[in-house]
Symmetry: C2
Subunit: 145 residues, 2 copies
DNA sequence: ATATACCATGAAAATCATTTTCAATAGAGG
DNA sequence: CCTCTATTGAAAATGATTTTCATGGTATAT
């Protein structure tokens, strides 16, 4: 799984006439070995611990490339930080965000997707992406009250 | 309808011990007399044309108050600009965004809301808000191709 | 291998949206 | 009219992201 994403990115780099570099590999490994929904800064700090001379700008640039190559997807939960999650071909999920502790759970639901397509169609739209986020309080935080 | 929103905001201002000012009224009128989904800058420029000495910061601050008072809702379509839309009590709608011309249509769907609640419940969440946006190409843009 | 051409990098400066600061001003109630 | 305190506008500050630019690295042709 990770191998195929590495390959996917390397193919993308080659196809675009870009270069394969040490930093890109470091960032790629770092990204693939983390939980989803990591903010740019979190990833930067994590990498920085092991490779102190990696640049902030390089992490930003490289994550954008990941998104372009299709192995990552940009997400924003309204906290002013851009996050990147792992993207898998043909697969999509949505998010449940706890507004108290910040936990993020993923879910996917066929029925909702179908309804979305139907709504879009009714309005004359050809949809290519969507974003669905449910904000609330998770069970742990509810018990803690 | 507009009158009741004005009243709603004035009540909010009074309840919070805030003051009713000329600027707030100007911004309120400006906001109420525009289409939905206006960005802060757009509103600022529109107001600025008539009232050249209104401050940027005041528009920001006032729009936040509108959101707190319940007559407006903050939205972001991922273009790096915060927008505000008219909010009506007990009413919620979602968005269809055309990624080509930028048009935004609103819709609402009972069935989807119900499914969302069920999903949240299944995951132990108590949901208080959600955000659903469908991104695609609108019918006009599709014909234009 | 070596040269060549061009891409990528890191650090710092620049940018963009938004927020805060601060001194001056203006509401609300006495 | 006075006083108290919230509000305003301008400018500075902030935080996230992007760009600049001189230097270094990579791929490909030689």
């Amino acid at each position: 799984m990770k191998l195929s994403k590495k390959k996917q990115f390397h193919d993308f780099v080659a196809r675009r006439g870009l270069k394969s570099t040490r930093q890109r590999d470091i960032i790629l490994d770092g990204f693939l070995s983390t939980d989803d929904h990591m903010s740019i800064e979190e990833l930067y700090l994590k990498l920085r611990a092991k490779y102190p001379n990696i640049g902030y700008a390089t992490v930003y640039r490289t994550l954008k490339l990941f998104a372009e190559s299709g192995i990552a997807r940009e997400i924003q939960f309204g906290d002013g930080q851009t996050r990147y999650e792992h993207a898998a071909e043909g697969e999509h999920h949505d998010h449940l965000v706890c507004t108290r502790c910040g936990e993020v759970q993923e879910f996917s639901n066929e029925a909702i997707e179908k309804l979305q397509d139907k709504i879009a169609e009714d309005h004359g739209y050809l949809v290519h992406t969507h974003k669905l986020e449910l904000y609330g309080i998770c069970s742990k935080c509810r018990k803690r009250e």
